[in-house]
Amino acid sequence: MKQLNRRQFLKRGGALLAAGSLPFSLVEVAFGKGSEENFTFAYISDSHITHIKGNQFVRNWDRGLIRAIAETNLMDPRPDFTFYGGDIAQLGKPEEIDHGLEILGGLRGKLYQVMGEHDYYVDLGEHWRNQLGPDHYSFDHKGVHFVVLNSILTTDEWTHQNWETPMHRMKAMARLDNPNGSPFMVGDKQREWLKNDLDKISKDTPVIVFSHSPLQKIYKGWNFWTDDAEQVQALLRPFKKVTVLYGHVHQIQYNQIDNISFHAVMATAWPWPYPSSYKQAESHLPKLTIEMNRADPFHERDATGWQFINVATGNVDMHYLLPDNQNRIVGFDRELGHPVDKRYQLSKNAIPPQRHY
């Protein structure tokens, strides 16, 4: 089927998800500039497939990924491609990566991958790269420059210290609140690569960066953190429209720092509390963010989900598909110059489940 852009499709009245998400008039405004290069892609992340023994995997995480894929496959028109945001596995075992990739095989269309720390720290990404290719790369699509970074590296000292086994290192990194952890970073080598990559494109080109860690400094205690965030942001500063999409945090977050919009994506596996709920330490959740609803742990898919992203004239609208919850849209507001939650941004619209205290 010929790829239609959103406006053409809406005019034909066959949109499966479009009009159900944004009021029709808003959609027209978002795409009103007449660009034929608007497009949609899907984003699934953080499935944390966990091996128990033999052929047994943790049922909860398997079901989360299966469901996200089944729902993504309902999208009509089909998204241009899907991104997977990292942490296929929980402890980086080949069984886990392979089982996750097997489930992802049910997804229709092209799939791009981002490295997560849970995929990396057992074998420093060897099995992942064997299966999936390089962990940092770029490509262009409909006038937008896409960059994928491996942003979960850390210091050589920590990585190559005298670990009892590689799995000890993996488990140390897997524990979110590990007091003996080590901060994520992109690192000198990759920043050099990024600089060269970005040198090749004009400053008017919209750029979308995929990173597992936030490329911001939110809360170091849980590695909601990229140590060289400022340096990476500096490389992105010359461009007019930049969006960073990141996983890792398992919650809704969004921010605007100068020209860069930041959006976190939901995990398919489980949600994490907001760092501000840890009262013994200070954290810096972007003030813009209206939190996701607190989960009911009985409903295993509550506060999990997947998302699709509309790219319109180089800015990003994030549509969160949230089982057991109202879906949410965080769209780029051209007048305000930053992302805005379409329903809840005014604090008076916030609902009790969003109060994380």
């Binding site: 009245g13 496959n73 999208m75 009985f298 409903h299 898919r301 057991d324």
Partner: protein, 370 residues
């Protein structure tokens, strides 16, 4: 008929909520009066509101069958079958949405749909109903008395309000469980039923959707979940079914979206399995159906939205297997996050069934015996 009104209305008119239930919610714009209730009762039983003069609300929601029809899927006009099992009217007053997929927000809205569905009442629209009413002298008098409306001005709003009023009196609590839990009578449940209650709260994982609380038990959370029933009919064809359904819905010119959905879900098995998605178009709602109340469940077999489970034992087995009839069946890709294998022993399963039988109200049981 009158017997039933006497049984239920008297406690209602003294505004005591049944034991184990909160007061019945009554909308501002449709207050209860004895005359309105009686009118609603009559309308509920009036078979003339169907294409062959043989189908009324009571056909599928009959008081001697705990306000259901004890069929897997209901039979309407000319014995035509739909795709869904008739839910009980008992305690439907506490529902926040009506129908298995919640496509109507209230009892008033619900009552208008079945008469004009081809497999239920079979009427093309509501006009024949209003014609029957306005040319019936008894109805003329009743409507005037209840709504102060002249015959020519009677609308389906009046009709549906009266029916809803009647349905708001079909409430029942005071089951052996209620007497045990809220009435302080520790002898009201058998030992097996007490074990069953504990399983219901804990290992059985029932209580999160089939709510029991400190002062009341609605046995429903009023939400929609895909528990894996019936998905085999749509397995592997979810995208195709969803896509075609939505295309047709958008292309429909002659009917409202609401009527289109009402007809489509009852006439097409695969569309029916879309569940709540057919109403919300939200991919996270595929195959999701409303949590039923469990009150009087012993009397409302067969079970589930397609009537596919015959006995309570079958139901408990289905949940025990984690959302499938046989342990070896595949699971729906859209399965709700609350469904998982339970690992219950045979005795535990029997205890749960025992407990479910303790949810029958004496007065409903009495009606069923008649």
């Amino acid at each position: 008929m009158l017997k039933y009104i006497l049984l239920c209305c008297i406690p209602f008119l003294v505004t005591a909520a049944p034991l184990g239930l909160p007061p019945v919610p009554v909308p501002e714009n449709n207050q209860q009066t004895p005359e309105k209730i009686a009118l609603g009762d009559k309308l509920y039983h009036d078979k003339r509101f169907s294409a062959d003069g043989k189908v009324s609300c009571a056909t599928c929601h009959e008081e001697t069958k705990a306000f259901t029809d004890n069929l897997p899927v209901s039979k309407g006009f000319r014995g035509l079958t739909g795709t869904r099992n008739a839910p009980t009217v008992i305690n439907s007053a506490y529902m926040k949405t009506l129908f298995w997929d919640g496509r109507e927000p209230d009892l008033e809205g619900q009552s208008k749909q079945p008469p004009i569905n081809p497999v239920e009442g079979g009427l093309p629209d509501h006009i024949p109903i209003l014609k029957t009413i306005t040319s019936d002298p008894d109805y003329q008098v009743s409507f005037k008395k209840v709504f102060n409306v002249a015959a020519a001005d009677i609308t389906m709003e009046h009709v549906s309000k009266a029916i809803a009023s009647f349905e708001r009196t079909i409430v029942s609590g005071n089951s052996p469980f209620d007497q045990y839990q809220y009435g302080g009578n520790k002898e009201a449940l058998t030992v097996a039923q007490i074990r069953g209650l504990d399983l219901f709260r804990n290992k059985g994982r029932c209580v999160s959707c089939h709510r029991i609380e400190e002062t009341q038990a609605l046995f429903t959370d009023n939400r929609f979940h895909n528990i894996g029933i019936g998905f085999k009919k749509i397995q592997g064809k979810e995208d195709e079914t969803a896509h075609n359904f939505l295309q047709q819905k958008r292309a429909e010119k002659n009917k409202s979206a609401k009527d289109f959905v009402d007809i489509a879900v009852l006439s097409n098995e695969r569309v029916s399995e879309l569940g709540r998605f057919a109403v919300t178009e939200n991919p996270t709602n595929v195959g999701a159906f409303k949590t039923s109340t469990l009150r009087n469940i012993e009397l409302t077999a067969p079970y589930m939205h397609d009537g596919s489970l015959e006995t309570l034992e079958d139901v408990v087995d289905f949940y025990n297997n984690g959302g499938r009839v046989k342990e070896t069946d595949p699971l729906s890709n859209f399965l709700a996050g609350g469904i998982r294998p339970l690992d219950l022993s045979d005795e535990e399963k029997a205890d749960l069934v025992s407990f479910l039988k303790a949810l029958t109200s004496p007065k409903i049981a009495k009606l069923a015996k008649q």
